[in-house]
C-alpha cells in the first residue's frame, strides 16, 4: 500500500491537513512540525498521489499533445520542441494520435475537452473544421493549434507562401525561366499556400504561370520522385529547374534518378526541396531546401499554452514564424 498523508499524520501526531500544508510549503507552520513532517515523509518515501491531488484542485497538471501521425518526422520534430523547451515544466505530456484510431479526430477532441484529464491541448495540424475546434473554447480548455492559422484558438504556424516565394526567387535569380513545381495534396499539408508563393514569385518576374509545369505526387517518397522525374523530362516545356513543395524525399528521388540517367545536378536540372530532412545533407549533391522552424513551433506552443493555463494571458494569439531557405548544392 502506498503511503498517504494520513500515514504521515499519524506518525507525526498531527492531522493530515497539517501535513498537506507542509508538503505544499504553505506559510504559518512551526519550524518544529515542518521538520518533523518532512523527515517522516522522506523516510517513508512519500509522494503525493497525483490523481487525488488533481481531483482536489481541479487540475490535472497535464497537457495533451494531439498529433496526426507519429511517423512523420515533421511532427516528431515539433514534439521535440515541445518537450525540450523545458521551462522546468511541471506538466506531464500526454500523447494522442489521430491516425488509425477507433475514434475520429473530432470525437477525440470532444472527449479530451470534457474529460478533464488535461489542462490544455496542443494540436498539431488538425484537419477538422474551425467549428469542431470550438469545443476547447467552449469547455474553457486552453488550446494552441500548430501549423495552421485558427481564428477561434491560439495558433503557431509558418508563412509557407513566403518560404516558397523565396525558394522560387532563388531559382529565377539563377536564370531559370521554366521551373516545374511538384505538389502533394495528401494529408494536411498547406500545399496551396506553398504553390501561391511559387506563383507570386513567377508573376513578379513576368513569367507566366503554366499549370502544365505543375505535377502531382501521391506521397513524399523517393519512388514518387523517380516517377515524376520522367514526366518532368518528357515535358515539352523543358524545365531547367524543379521546386518541390511536396517534400525532400521526392526531391531526393528526382536527384538520384537524374544522376543515374547521366544528367548533372544542378547544371542540367536545378532542384529545390521542402522540409530539410536529415537526408537532405546526405544526398549528392546536397539538397537546397526550405526549412520550417519546427522546434521553434513546438517551443512557442508550449510557452503559450502554459501561459494560458496559468491565466497569465487571455487574448487569442497568433504566432507566425518564418521559414528558412537552406542553400546547398542542388541548385
Amino acid at each position: 500500500m502506498p503511503v498517504t498523508l494520513k500515514d504521515i499524520a499519524e506518525r507525526a501526531k498531527v492531522t493530515a491537513a497539517t501535513v498537506s500544508m507542509v508538503i505544499n510549503n504553505k506559510p504559518n507552520i512551526s519550524e518544529d512540525t515542518r521538520e518533523k513532517v518532512l523527515a517522516i515523509a522522506s523516510e517513508l518515501n512519500y509522494y503525493p498521489n497525483a490523481i487525488a491531488r488533481g481531483l482536489a484542485t481541479s487540475k490535472a497538471n497535464a497537457i495533451g499533445v494531439i498529433v496526426p501521425n507519429l511517423a512523420s518526422s515533421y511532427v516528431v520534430r515539433i514534439l521535440q520542441g515541445i518537450k525540450s523547451t523545458n521551462r522546468d515544466i511541471d506538466y506531464t505530456v500526454q500523447l494522442f494520435d489521430t491516425i488509425g484510431q477507433k475514434e475520429t479526430e473530432t470525437q477525440l477532441f470532444q472527449r479530451l475537452a470534457r474529460e478533464r484529464r488535461i489542462d490544455g491541448a496542443i494540436l498539431i495540424g488538425p484537419v477538422c473544421s474551425e467549428a469542431e475546434l470550438r469545443v476547447f473554447k467552449d469547455e474553457h480548455v486552453p488550446c494552441v493549434v500548430i501549423a495552421r492559422k485558427c481564428d477561434v484558438l491560439n495558433s503557431v504556424y509558418v508563412n509557407n507562401t513566403l518560404g516558397s516565394y523565396e525558394a522560387t526567387e532563388y531559382l529565377v535569380g539563377k536564370g531559370h525561366q521554366s521551373i516545374a513545381g511538384i505538389v502533394c495534396y495528401k494529408k494536411n499539408l498547406p500545399m496551396d499556400e506553398r504553390l501561391d508563393g511559387y506563383k507570386q514569385s513567377l508573376s513578379s518576374h513576368n513569367i507566366p504561370f503554366n499549370s502544365d509545369l505543375v505535377f502531382e505526387v501521391a506521397d513524399d517518397t523517393m519512388e514518387e520522385g523517380k516517377a515524376v522525374f520522367q514526366k518532368i523530362i518528357e515535358s515539352p516545356l523543358k524545365p531547367s529547374a524543379v521546386f518541390i513543395p511536396a517534400g525532400d524525399m521526392v526531391a531526393i528521388g528526382i536527384i538520384k534518378t537524374a544522376i543515374s540517367a547521366g544528367m548533372s545536378v544542378p547544371e542540367d536540372l536545378a532542384v529545390v526541396g521542402y522540409d530539410d530532412l536529415p537526408a537532405a545533407e546526405v544526398v549528392e549533391p546536397t539538397l537546397t531546401t526550405v526549412r520550417q522552424p519546427k522546434l521553434e513551433m513546438g517551443d512557442n506552443a508550449i510557452d503559450l499554452i502554459i501561459d494560458k493555463i496559468e491565466g497569465r494571458d487571455s487574448e487569442i494569439k497568433d504566432i507566425e514564424l518564418p521559414t528558412k531557405f537552406i542553400c546547398r548544392n542542388s541548385a
Copy 2:
C-alpha cells in the same frame, strides 16, 4: 462548469449511483431508466471526469513511456510501435524524457512509481542500475524495459551480438581479412555486445582480433565519420572493410568522404552500418546495414505491459528479438 453525474441524476430523478451504473453498463438497471439516463447524458454531452474516476478506482488508465531523448530516431521509432499497436488501447500514453531535465532518471523513476499517475511504465534504454529499477517492482507498478535485458523486470530487446556477428560474417564471406570496427560509447548503446559479435565472427574464421582496428567516435554523425575515415586509411593494417556499430550516420560520413577522396565503395572499401536510418537508402552507394526491429519492440512492449496491468500474466518475461541484415550496395 462541466456536467457531472449529479447533474444528470437530478434531471433523471435518480441518484448519482444509478447514473454511474448506467454509464458503466452495469447489469440490473431497468430499460426505462437506462434509456432516460443515456438520453440526458448525451444531450448534456456528459463525459466522466477521468481524474475522479481514477481516484475512485485506483487506476489512472495511463501508461508512462520514459525515453532518454526524443531526438533519437531510434527512440521515436519504438514510440511509433508503441502508439500504433493499438489493441484499441484505452490507456493514455504519457511521455517523459530524461535528457536535460531538472530531475535525474532515478528521481523520475521514484516519483512515477509512487505518484500513482500511471498504471504501468515502459522504459526505453534506461541507463540506471538494476537496483534503481527495482522501485517499480517494489511499488507494484508493472514495467517493461526496452532495449536492455533486465532480471528484475520484464524486458524486450534485440540480440545485438548476433546482429554484429552476421554483418561481420558477410564481410568475411566477401573475402575481407582486415576489417575495421567503429564504436561509440556514448549514451546507452550496447556497444560491447555489438563488438562481441564482431569478435566472435573473426575468431570463428581464425582471424585474430586486433584492437588497433577498432576506432572510437564521439557521436553518430557524418562529421565523426569524416574524421575517422582519415584514421582508417592511415592505418598500417590497410583495412579493406569497415563495420560500424556506432551507427549509420558515421557510416554515411565515411562513404561520402571516401568517394570524394576518389575511392570507390565497396571496391576499395566495403562499408556496413548499424541502424538502417532513412538516410541509408539515400547515400550513394546505398548502405548495407543492420536493422533493429524497433516497431516490433514497441509493439511487444505495449502488449506486455497491458497484460501485466490487467493481471493476465504475472511472471517476468524476456522477449529477445532478432536484428535483420539489410544488404544494399556499400559492401
